[in-house]
Each structure stands twice: as C-alpha cells, then as structure tokens.
C-alpha cells in the first residue's frame, strides 16, 4: 500500500528529486520538477495531519527495523502541523521563484538553485518527521549545507561572507548538538526519542546529562538564532536571493524551534526540566532581550530586508517565551506562532522580492514613493506589516493573544508587558517603511518600476491573505496548536 509509505515518501520524494534536477539541468525543467514535488509534499503533509488529528500518532519503522534499534518516524499532531507549515510555504514559493530566480541567478546555475532547494526541503522535512535524535542531526546537516549554498547564490558579493559566517556558526551549532546526543547515548544507550524519554528520569541527576542538555540547547539555539547566537541571521537573510530569504525566513528557524520543542518536551519530557535547572529564567531573559533588542535594532536599519531579519529575531523571541511559559496556552501560542509567523514573514519577504525585481534594491532610500508605482506590492507589504504589529484580524494578533494570556495565567505580567512593547516597536519599524513608500515623492533618477508580474504577486497575496483568513477564523489552527501543546505536555505527566 502506497498510503502507508507516506511518512517515508514525505522525505524521500524531494530528496530523490534533487539529483534528477542536476541531471536534467534545464532551468524550466528543474522548476517544473520542483513544482510538482513540492505540491505533492504538501498533499502528503495534509494527509498526515488529517490522520493524526482523526486517528492518532503514526509510527513508521524505516526498513522495518524495530524501534528503538531502527529509525522510527513518529508523527503526532506537533510535527504533522510543522510538516504542513514547511510544505505549504515550500509549495507557494516555487511558482513565485521562477521569475525571481531567473532575474537574480545566472542561468547556468539555476538548476543548482532548485537542486539545493529540494535538498533543503528534504532536510527540513526530515528534521520534523524523525523520531530519532541522531537521524535529526543528519537531516539538520542536509538542510544546513544546502542553505549555505542557497545563500551564497545571492547576487551581492557579500552573500559569500554571509554564507561563510553562517557555515561557521551553523557547524558549531550542529557540533554542539551532536555532542549532546553523544552524551545522552553514553548515559542511556538509546537514540530514539520516545525511548530516551522513558530512560531519562533515572539519569537526570547526573552531570553528564545536564551538560548534554546544555549542549543540545545551545546548539539548537544557534540554529534558531536565539539572542545572543543570532549574529549569522541578519546578513544571511539580507544577501541571499529573494526567494531564498522567503523560504529560510518562513521555515528554517521554525524547524529549529520545533527541534527545541521536541528535545525539551519529548526527550526530556519525563522530567520537569524547568524545575530542575535555571533553564526557564535563562530562556525568558534571552527571549525578552531578543524581542526588545532586535525590534529596537530593526528601527535603525536602512535595508528593508535587514529590518525584516531583525524583526524575525524578535519573533523568535515570542516563540521561545511561549516555550518557557510551558503551559498549554503558552505552548499553543508558540506553536501557532510558528505557523502565523511563517505566513506573514513569508508574505513580507515575497513583497520585498517583487520590489527587488523591479527596483533592483531593497534599500529604504530607493523606495521613495514606491507605492505609486507598485501599489499592489506595497499594499501587500502594509498588510503584512500590520500583521507583524498584531492588529486584530491578523494572525499576529492571535499569537500575541495566546502568549499574553499564557503569561497572565502564570501571573507573569512583565512578560505580557514585554510582548506588548515589542508590538509597539513593530509599529515604528513598519511605519518607517510605509511613510517612505507612500509619502515621499519618487526621486528624479528612480528607475521606472512597474508592478511585479502576476506569478509573483499571486503567491505574495496568497500568504498575505492567509494572514487574515487565519487571523479572523483562528479556531482551526488553534485547535491543532492546542492539541499539539497538549501532546507535548503529555510527556510531563
């Protein structure tokens, strides 16, 4: 039965399609393959989500090797939801990519872009789907290596240094992670997440495991760009090709957040982690610093892509805050924000890609009066920006509501205040751009830009539209997020 193999196909399909692109080499063919594969992945992810919601957790044994010896793919509501996020963004990006990639990447290398894109997708999906901590490392490397290549494809030469810096820091992160995994293996003899969860309470008091936990957290925090391990991110997002910025911003860090969730709540689920160490206080302090600091930094950026990059750092702070609240409400806020932030940041970076295509720059100074020449693109940008601010009716509001509620339920009103202050800082950095685009007259030497092509506008507006659709009717996403949070916290009992 093919349907039973979907968990494997979810990863294998993009993984095996990647080399096909290398062999065929023709840009349009590579694009077409990528298109078909990503949409098929989305369909599979949706089927998996439906299955987990209706029937329950799926356990898939690769090669029929019994867990915990073999590799197990374990899909519950949490990762089924993240699979849908990643594949949904992945499939909306591809139609958008065609024109943008042709404009930004030399034709001879376009096949390389799609190859790496598929590899990256496969890596991210693998991280999410696997139930094995070592297997997670393997996919982490696949996605990381391919993203270094993707970033270095950027037109600007600074893309190379950005990719190199990411390579160095990403490798450190992965190394820390594998050190942590090694220590856990040393103490428990297992790599399977569920198995580890049952073995962990017995060894939790040992120094080795506590050091392992530190290594795992720091390694993953590097990948998810938690302050102060974030320095690779702004340059990587800024100098990468537009399409890559969209995809990485919407999925890359989200998957790392997911991995952290898994480690904290599943692998260490048997022990109440936040009570045995100062992890909670540390995480809150770092997240709060990220939210306020990155938002404040975003205000002073002159490159709009950098504004969004710093904004992403602040949004990662939201997710980590939700994790450290560690109640159903807080975690649900975090998980739903994975989805919500993917939609809005994806849409915003897509709008910027349209600007880059027509203006050739995303510097604030080059966007004077742009709203008159590209009204639809800039309207999408404003709509996405309002969602970042957290206007009611947008997805940003939903996330904020849940996180504030989670904080207040615990009586942590300073956290609630920090969340609100971050929103207000967002007003400033979003409105700076709006004012430039809407109130300044176009410069005399400005290129005669026209509206972006439909193949780019439609995906942009699909994501922006999703921001408001799931912002007004958030019951569906929240049902899943709350279910996922309950699944994760179930491990604590």
């Amino acid at each position: 039965m093919i349907a039973e193999q979907i968990p494997a196909l979810q990863v294998v399909l993009p993984l095996s399609a990647a080399p096909v692109c290398v062999f065929l080499r023709r840009p349009r063919v590579a694009w077409l393959i990528t298109l078909v594969v990503t949409w098929a992945s989305l369909a599979m992810a949706l089927m998996l989500l439906l299955h987990t919601v209706r029937i329950g957790t799926i356990s898939y044994l690769l090669g029929d090797w019994q867990a915990p010896w073999g590799i197990e793919y374990r899909i519950d509501m949490v990762n089924a939801f993240v699979l849908v996020i990643v594949t949904a963004i992945g499939s909306v990006v591809v139609p958008y990519a065609r024109v943008s990639v042709e404009a930004e990447i030399p034709e001879a290398r376009i096949y390389l872009f799609y190859t790496m894109y598929l590899l990256n997708l496969a890596g991210l999906l693998g991280i999410v789907i696997t139930g094995d901590v070592f297997n997670l490392f393997v996919f982490l490397e696949i996605s990381s290596l391919s993203s270094y290549v993707l970033i270095s494809l950027g037109k600007d030469r600074r893309a190379l240094t950005a990719a190199y810096r990411y390579l160095v820091m990403g490798t450190i992160g992965a190394t820390f992670y594998i050190i942590g995994v090694g220590m856990m293996y040393m103490m428990t003899g297992s790599l399977n997440m569920v198995d580890l969860a049952t073995l962990m309470p017995a060894v939790m008091t040992t120094k080795t495991i506590q050091v392992a936990l530190a290594f795992l957290t720091v390694g993953l925090s590097l990948k998810l760009a938690l302050f102060p391990l974030h320095v690779w991110l702004p340059n990587a997002y800024t100098y990468a090709p537009s399409t890559v910025s969209v995809f990485l911003a919407a999925t890359g860090t989200k998957v790392a957040v997911y991995a952290l969730l898994r480690i904290v709540f599943t692998v260490f689920g048997g022990v109440d982690l936040f009570s045995v160490s100062a992890a909670q206080d540390v995480l809150i302090a770092l997240a709060a610093t990220a939210m306020i600091g990155a938002s404040a930094t975003a205000i002073y950026q002159t490159n709009v892509k950098r504004v969004l990059a710093y904004s992403s750092l602040a949004q990662i702070g939201y997710m980590v805050i939700g994790i450290s609240i560690a109640t159903v409400t807080g975690l649900a806020g975090s998980i739903v924000h994975l989805f919500n932030h993917a939609m809005m940041k994806g849409g915003l970076f897509m709008a910027l890609g349209c600007v880059f295509l027509r203006v050739g720059s995303v510097k604030l100074a080059d966007m004077d009066g742009l709203a008159r020449r590209m009204p639809l693109t800039m309207a999408a940008f404003v709509a996405g920006g309002l969602s970042i601010i957290g206007l009611p009716g947008s997805v940003g509001f939903i996330s904020k509501w849940y996180l504030i509620q989670g904080a207040l339920e615990k009586g942590w009103w300073p956290v609630a205040v920090i969340i609100l202050v971050t929103s207000l800082l967002a007003v400033i950095y979003v409105w700076r751009i709006v004012e430039v685009a809407y109130f300044r007259p176009p410069r005399a030497d400005a290129p005669a830009a026209k509206e972006a092509p439909l193949s780019m506008l439609v995906p942009t507006w699909i994501l922006i539209g999703a921001c408001y659709y799931f912002g007004i009717d958030a019951t569906r996403t929240l049902d899943v997020a709350v279910g996922a949070a309950e699944t994760l916290l179930g491990g604590l009992r």
Binding site: G393, I404, Q405
Partner: protein, 510 residues
C-alpha cells in the same frame, strides 16, 4: 428579513458601499450618488432596529468563532443604537456636505477619500453593534487604520507628521493598555461578553479592578483623556468633512462610547461605585475638561480651537462614566448625542468659512457674518448647544451630568461643569458675535510672510475677497443644506430629547 439579518446588514452596508465607491471611482457623480444611497440605506436599517430595542427584544448574532471560546458577536443594545443612529444619520448629512466641500476645494484622490470614509463608518458600526469586547476591539483598531489615509489625505510633510502622532498615540494606547486590559479580563473571567451588571464582580480584587480601570480609561485613546489627547489636534490637518464626522462624531464618540460600555457592561456601575476606584479618574477627566477648554481659548486656528473643545467635551462623558452613578451614565450617553450634533455643525461652519472666504484663523473672522450670515447663524446655534444653553439639546446632557455629580455627592464636579460652560462661552461665542457686529476692518493685520490659509486656492478670483461691500457670498449649497440639518437637529433635541433619554434609561434600569 429577520432582525438578525438587519443587524448584519448594518455592518455590511458601509463595506459594500466602499467597494462600490472604488468601482465607480471614475465617474464622480455616480460615486457620490453611491455614497449617498449607501448612507441612506444604512440609516434606514439602523432605524428599523429602534422599535425592537424599545420593545426589549434586541437581536444578536454570532458571526464566527475567532478563537476557541471567543467569537465575533453582534448585538444591539440601547447605547449602541444611539451611537449607530447618530453616526449613520450624520453620515448622510456629511456626504452631502462633502460633495460641496471636496469639489469646492478641488481636493485630490476623492475616490480614496470616499472609500476610506465608508470603511471608517463601517468600523464605527462594528464598534457600536459589537456584542463583546473582542469584537469591539477589532473594529476599534480598524477605525484607527481606516482613518489614517483620511488624516494624511494631503500627503504633505505636515500631514505625515500628524499621521505619526495620530497612529502612534491611538495604536500605542490601544495595544499597550487596552489589549492588555482585555486579555487580563479574559484571563480573570473567561468571558468578554457585554453583560448587564458587569463580569468582573467576584473575579477580581480591588487593586486589580483599579489597575484594569486605569488601563481601560487610558487605553481607549479615542476618548482623548489627557495626557493621551494630542492625536486629536493632529488629526485636524484632514479635510474638514473628516474632522466633522470622524473627529467630532464617529472616532471620538467611539472612544467615549467604549468607555461607557466598559463601565456599564464589563465593570458594572454598582460594582464600580462600591469598589470606589474611579475617584482619581474623575479628577483626571475634570482636569481634561478644564485644561482643554483653557487651551482652546489660546488657539487662533478655528479647527484647532474646535478640536480642543472636543477634547474637553469628551471628558464630560468620561466624567459621567467615572461618577459610576446611573444619572451620570445617562448624562454621558446623552452627551454623546447632543455634542455630536453641536460639534459637527461647528465643523461644517469652519469648513464653509474655509471654502467660501478662505479663512481659517479666528482673528480674521471679524465681520464674516455680513458676507456669510447663514453659516454664522448656524455657528451660533452649534455654539449654544456645545455650551449647553437653551434652546439646544446640549442643555439636557449637562443637566443630567450635573445631577449625576450631585447624586454621587461630588459637588466639586458640578462646579467643574459650570466653570467649563463659562469657558465654552468665552472661546465660542466671540466668533459669531464678532462675525455679526464687527467689520472686516477690525481684523488685525496679517503677520508678514503669513499665508492667509495653508490651503489657499490659487485659481480663485480674488477680487471678491477685497470687496468690503456687504454682498452675501455663502458656502456651496450642499454645505449650507448640511448645516441647516444639523443645527435644526440641535434645536430639535432640546424639544424632543425623550427618545435618547429613554434609551439611556433602559441601560441603567433594565
């Protein structure tokens, strides 16, 4: 059509109107017709709700579930009906006025203007008819966003700066304080529905109630309680119809309306009175009343003077709510209606002076009653209503506010109301008096390099401006019509305040 359908239509009509305005944007005559018809239909729909509310059978409808356990609800109750009725009725009048003003003033981007205007009215309807605090908040924010393009209509640097203040203060207070208060309320009580008698009683201690009340009072920035009032004078860079309907009626009344709603249906009047946490906010409101009146006296620009007057009058309503007595609530609710008619008349007149005589400064308006007798007479009526003198409706709301203050044993607040009335006399009445009895020769010379008005119309024939003869040169006919309707409304509300009073009484004595 069931009452529930009518209720949904009240919300849908303005938004549909906005779409139609955009579609017909190329044909100005058709576009304006669409606006007028939309406004008329909307008022009709709101009017059909009146008998249902009076009969004690108000419709309510759940639109959709937004968050688990929290839905977007519409429900009509007496106070909301008053607000919706006023906003929709005055929309018709303002649309007529806009046609005269926008064309007479050669404004650009008129399609965007009319479309945003319709959206703003739709948002005001949403605020008026919201069935719970979440719904109200959604439309409250939409009202802020949709009026931003109207405030910055001219696109100048001045408009941009004003837009910053406008958005910064309104979003800042609503996200920073109000949203916090709403989520907190939700965490404490597990509901946000507007419930007679309030939802907080038994769920929150005295300290919590005090903090929540402050968060709400200042978080509802549209009520312009000092020190969060700067956005209202800033908004005066907008075209006059916007100042008239939105910044004398829809937006600011949405603010004080929300304050009353929160006091009555979230806190509960009795609970608030017993907890006694609103005392200091009475003083803040009283301070706003007096200080804003004093500032108004110093303003030479007529629209700015009216804006500060509005700030002062809004705090009457806040004061009425914070008195936490039934009579205070009644007075506050009635003041929403009475002040709306008075102030919109004054703004219409200010716009008429600008269009017909190109005068925006009070000091330049000596003798203007000779060339514009009709406008100046309407200004007189509007002033009387804002001051609270017969034969205008403004008298009644002040009457009940004073009774409410006595009822709560706050003699001092009665004094504040009286002093404020005197201040109103001082800054409003000289305008029509000088207009009728002084001559243009009494105008002080313009300071060197000072333009007569920022929006001077270069195409206009200036010969008439220097003609000292007493020739009548009035505003465009649609403007005059609008002024006639609203000033007649001020007088009519003196003789027939009963519908408003009865509706307000239903809230306090269900």
């Amino acid at each position: 059509m069931t009452p529930e359908h009518v209720l949904m239509l009240c919300l849908a009509i303005p938004f549909a109107g906005a779409i139609l305005v955009v579609v017909t944007g190329a044909l100005p005559d058709l576009r304006e017709t669409v606006t007028l018809i939309t406004a008329g239909v909307l008022f009709y729909c709101v009017a059909t709700l009146y008998p249902l509310v009076v009969a004690g059978n108000p419709p309510s409808v759940v639109l959709l579930e937004m968050l688990p356990g929290l839905s977007i609800d519409l429900a009509v109750e007496p106070l909301g009906l008053i607000f919706a009725g006023i906003a929709s009725f005055l929309w018709i009048v303002t649309s007529v006025y806009s046609i005269g003003y926008m064309r007479g003033h050669h404004e650009k981007n008129q399609t965007r203007f009319y479309a945003c205007f319709a959206i703003a009215i739709g948002a005001a309807m949403g605020v008026a008819l919201a069935g719970n605090m979440l719904t109200l908040f959604i439309f409250y924010e939409l009202l802020t966003i949709s009026t931003f393009p109207l405030v910055t209509h001219h696109g100048s640097d001045e408009a941009k700066r004003a837009g910053r203040v406008y958005l910064g203060l309104l979003l800042g207070t609503s996200i920073g304080f109000q949203l916090f208060a709403i989520v907190w309320t939700w965490t404490l009580t597990g509901t946000l529905s507007f419930t007679q008698g309030g939802i907080l009683e038994g769920n929150a201690g005295r300290l919590t109630v005090g903090i929540l009340l402050a968060l709400y009072a200042f978080g509802i920035g549209k009520a312009a309680l000092m020190p969060f009032h700067r956005w209202l004078p800033a908004a005066m860079v907008a075209p006059t119809p916007v100042s008239a309907l939105l910044h004398a009626v829809a937006v600011v009344k949405a603010g004080v309306f929300t304050v009353i709603k929160v006091v009555v249906y979230i806190f509960g009047v009795d609970f608030l009175f017993q907890s006694g946490v609103s005392g200091w906010l009475q003083w803040v409101a009283a301070g706003t009343v007096l200080i804003a009146s004093l500032v108004a006296m110093t303003q030479d620009n007529l629209k700015l003077r009216l804006a500060y007057s509005t700030i002062s009058q809004l705090s009457y309503v806040v004061l009425g709510a914070m008195l936490a007595s039934d009579l205070g609530i009644i007075g506050g609710g009635m003041h929403i209606a009475m002040h709306a008619f008075g102030k919109i008349t004054l703004f219409f007149c200010a716009g008429a002076y600008l269009v017909a005589a190109h005068k925006a400064e009070v000091s330049q308006m000596a003798g203007i009653g000779r060339t514009m007798p009709f406008t100046t007479f309407a200004f007189l009526i509007g002033s009387l209503s804002v001051i609270g003198l017969p034969p205008t409706g403004g008298m009644w709301s002040k009457w009940y506010l004073a009774l409410g203050a006595l009822d709560s044993g706050k003699l001092v607040m009665v004094g504040v109301l009286m002093v404020s009335s005197l201040l109103n006399v001082a800054y409003l009445l000289p305008i029509p008096v000088r207009g009728f009895f002084a001559t243009p020769a009494d105008n002080p010379p313009l300071p060197p390099g000072h333009e007569m008005t920022a929006e001077h119309d270069p195409e206009h024939d200036h010969a008439h401006d220097h003609d000292p003869a007493r020739r009548i040169k009035e505003a465009p006919l649609p403007c005059l019509f609008a002024m006639a309707v609203t000033s007649a409304g001020c007088v009519a509300l003196f003789f027939y305040p009963t519908p408003v009073y009865n509706l307000m009484q239903m809230i306090t004595a269900p």
